[in-house]
Each structure stands twice: as C-alpha cells, then as structure tokens.
C-alpha cells in the first residue's frame, strides 16, 4: 500500500538488466501470469543453471504464488515474469492461473464459492 517510489537500490536496474538479459517483459505463455498464479517445479535444479532459475525451482517444489516468489527473491513482478517465461518454455515449471471469477460470462462456480465459504468459516 506504500506510495510509488524510486528504487532504493540504485544498482537494482543494472541487476535486473543482467538477470533478464535486457528483456523487459515476458512473451508467450508467461504473459498471462497473475500475482496469484501458482508456480510448481516439474524438474530439479541442475548444475550450471542461472542462480535465480535454480532458486525458483527450489522454492516451488510445493506450489507458490508469483507474488510470494517475488517477495522471497526480492524481484519485481515484471522481472520475475521474464525468468518464469524461460522456465515455462523449458517445461521446468508449471503455472496454474487463479481460478477465474468469470468463465464464459457466468459468475464464479457455486461449488467453488461454497468451498471458500466453508474454509473461511473454519478460521
């Protein structure tokens, strides 16, 4: 909720540039990534991989949202999305988009809402 601000680390941009090879946005399958998309590793990290790729595979053995991954790795969404695009293209991770609110113009599935409701009521 904090106000937009300049990056506090002036070297951040150069770091991002190196991490992404200068790419600013993901293409293909990763362009639909949402902050709530769950990422799940499909393969183990391999020696010689880019450190961040390795880190993503390690952290996503159990499904983890893009938002959590970004917070843990200290990477903004768009930079992380570029890295995830590499892994998605290589088939190393699977991305599960959040269950959408509207499918084919209808409201959310009643069974899903029922499930959410009973989960909340157990809190």
């Amino acid at each position: 909720m904090s106000a937009p601000r300049r990056p506090t680390d002036p070297s951040g941009l150069e770091r991002y540039y190196v991490l992404t090879g200068g790419r600013s946005g993901p293409g293909g399958s990763a362009s639909s990534l949402d902050v709530a998309t769950l990422i799940v590793s499909r393969t183990a990290p391999e020696p010689g991989m880019q450190h961040e790729h390795e880190e993503i595979l390690r952290r996503c053995r159990d499904p983890l949202s893009v938002a959590e991954l970004g917070a843990h790795l200290g990477l903004p969404f768009n930079i992380l999305a570029v890295l995830l695009a590499d892994l998605l293209e290589a088939g190393r991770v699977e991305a599960r988009d959040p269950i959408p609110a509207h499918e084919a113009g209808r409201g959310p599935d009643l069974a899903l809402l029922e499930e959410v409701l009973s989960g909340l009521q157990r809190l």
């Binding site: 909720m1 790419r23 600013s24 946005g25 709530a36 053995r61 903004p76 599935d109 909340l120």
Partner: protein, 201 residues
C-alpha cells in the same frame, strides 16, 4: 536432496492445488494493510511492479536508469482454504491512479472488499468507481475506528451512492474474526449473484 513432487507432478504432493484471489481496496489509510495482516495465515509480504515496464516490449532496454522508474507495491497475505485451495488477499496500492498500470490487477479476482473510513467517506470514492468501472463485484466494509460516529448504514449507502444489491457491513480491520466475517459477506454476495445469473430468464 529430497525432491518430493518432482516425480509425480500430478500426484497428491504438489497436488492439484489451485488459488483464488480477492482484492482489498479502499482509500489511503482506510485499513487495507491492517485487514490483510489480521486475516492472513502468513506474515504479510510485499510484491512490487516497476511501472516503466507497463508496455511489454521485449526489445526495450530496461537498463535506462533515468528518473521515470516508479515502483508500486502490493501487500498481500494468504489463507489456506483447504488442502487444495489457497485464497490470496491483495491490498491495492494507495494511489488508485496507478491501478490501471498494473496490468490485470483485478482480472481474475473473485471480488473485492472496499474499505471505507466513515470519517472520510470521500477517500474511498475512487476505489468504488474503479470497481464499478472494471465490473468487479464487491462489498463495502466500514472500518470502525475508535472515534468513528455511528451512522445508520442506509445513510452511508446514500452518501456513497451504492446500489441496494451491494452489501455494506461494519468491521474492525484489526480483528481477525471481524475481517474474516467481511470475507464471508463477500463470498455470500458472490453466491447470490451467481445464483441469480443461473436462473432461467
């Protein structure tokens, strides 16, 4: 090393876990982060987006370190609904004018809670307008601050110009059970809407 789940991508480990998302919106200082914090199972985290990358142009160099870099933060938390389903809660950035820059911020959300501070109704006008514009179903949660005066809900509905179908509930965003009840009100509202949509015309 233990690589559980890697051999059975569809198995019960990594499982078929899916996510749903709910947005917590409202004006500056209405208690969005407080609500995320009180109801989340995890310590709330922050994720960021740098806004100069709003256009996804692959050839555009991001290394141009000039003054136009702005960062917008989203505080978020999560609630384990059951073993197969996780609910993510995202507190929207304070400045509503940046919402549209975060591509698809509200897309795919089940719905939203719009927090309102009854001492400063106007601070949530923009959030309400934005929900209506983006067609996001929402409930209004009046965050009752210690020095808030009691207003009849219908008075507030008039003042905010809220449709009679949109629920308005009072809450204390600092309180877990109270925040949970707001989410319950939102999901009930979504159910009602779905039920209406499914009725034959």
């Amino acid at each position: 090393m233990d690589f559980k789940g890697f051999d059975h991508p569809g198995g019960p480990d990594a499982g078929g876990t899916r996510s749903v998302k709910v947005m917590i919106a409202g004006g500056f200082g209405t208690g969005k982060t407080t609500m995320v914090r009180s109801v989340s199972d995890i310590k709330p985290l922050t994720t960021e987006e740098t806004l100069t990358q709003a256009s996804a142009d692959v050839d555009h160099l991001i290394g141009v370190a000039d003054k136009t870099q702005t960062t917008v933060s989203l505080d978020f938390g999560k609630i384990g609904i059951n073993e197969q389903l996780v609910l993510y809660l995202f507190g929207t950035p304070g400045q509503e004018r940046f919402w549209f820059l975060w591509n698809g911020l509200f897309k795919g959300a089940l719905g939203a809670v719009v927090l309102v501070d009854t001492r400063r109704l106007a601070s949530s006008f923009r959030a309400i307008e934005e929900m209506e514009r983006q067609n996001v179903p929402f409930v209004i949660a009046l965050n009752v601050f210690p020095d808030s005066q009691q207003h009849p809900i219908e008075e507030i509905r008039d003042a905010l110009d809220i449709s009679p179908h949109t629920p308005i509930v009072a809450c204390d965003a600092r309180d877990r059970a109270s925040s949970r009840d707001v989410l319950v009100a939102l999901i009930r509202h979504l159910k009602d809407r779905s039920a209406v949509a499914l009725e034959p015309r």
